[in-house]
Symmetry: C2
Subunit: 123 residues, 2 copies
């Protein structure tokens, strides 16, 4: 079996906490990132938590993009999972990093659908 999917795990640290608690902004960023890289959105679910935090999941024809935010920590965990070669997940990741103003992001790429997943840390 070849690699079937590329899965980016984004640790978005030191983000702008105001953005992380703003559902409409988070949604705009996620949808914008998906569209910018040519992903086809086929489903979405966004939720505002109280007292704080947002969860957003986009199902895309190429797999999914998700985010969970902790404004109190200035932190968000985002995942960009793509199959096929039409969408570059790292391009989408850069958009999330910039728009959420993460000054200390950490990115890991995991190749899915291989015999044993291998982990590549991206400095």
């Amino acid at each position: 079996m070849n690699v079937l999917g590329r899965h980016l795990l984004l640790e978005l640290r030191e983000c702008n906490p105001t953005y992380l608690d703003d559902l409409e902004y988070v949604k705009e960023v996620m949808v914008g990132a998906a569209q910018s890289v040519g992903a086809q959105i086929i489903g979405e679910s966004f939720h505002q938590f109280k007292p704080q935090g947002v969860t957003g999941v986009l199902a895309i024809a190429e797999s999914h993009i998700s985010i969970h935010t902790w404004p109190e920590w200035g932190y968000a965990a985002a995942d960009i999972f793509t199959c096929g070669t039409t969408v570059d997940p790292q391009e989408a990741a850069q958009i999330l990093i910039e728009k959420l103003e993460s000054t200390r992001p950490y990115m890991t790429e995991i190749r899915r659908g291989v015999e044993v997943p291998d982990l590549v840390s991206i400095p």
Copy 2:
């Protein structure tokens, strides 16, 4: 920052391929797994692809559960991301493994929201 989330990456290999191409069955398994472990479903998106394959994403109050299937390989990539301590992601993982009849699963747990994500392979 403490660990904010537990993220299980499930490589479901050698599944029953018929199940993997059956949206209703996959949905039943995913929703059932979420409910069994006490997760609160807050959104869902399921899609059947042609010629084959299913994508399913559940937004849960505790984060998300997703699956992407490749019936032609008998393979599915599932993710179970939970925050808090009320839901045990490994219990949900066992349900997916059993219900999709994966005879050769591989599970990795990644702790999210720590300074540098650490990866724990589960034999």
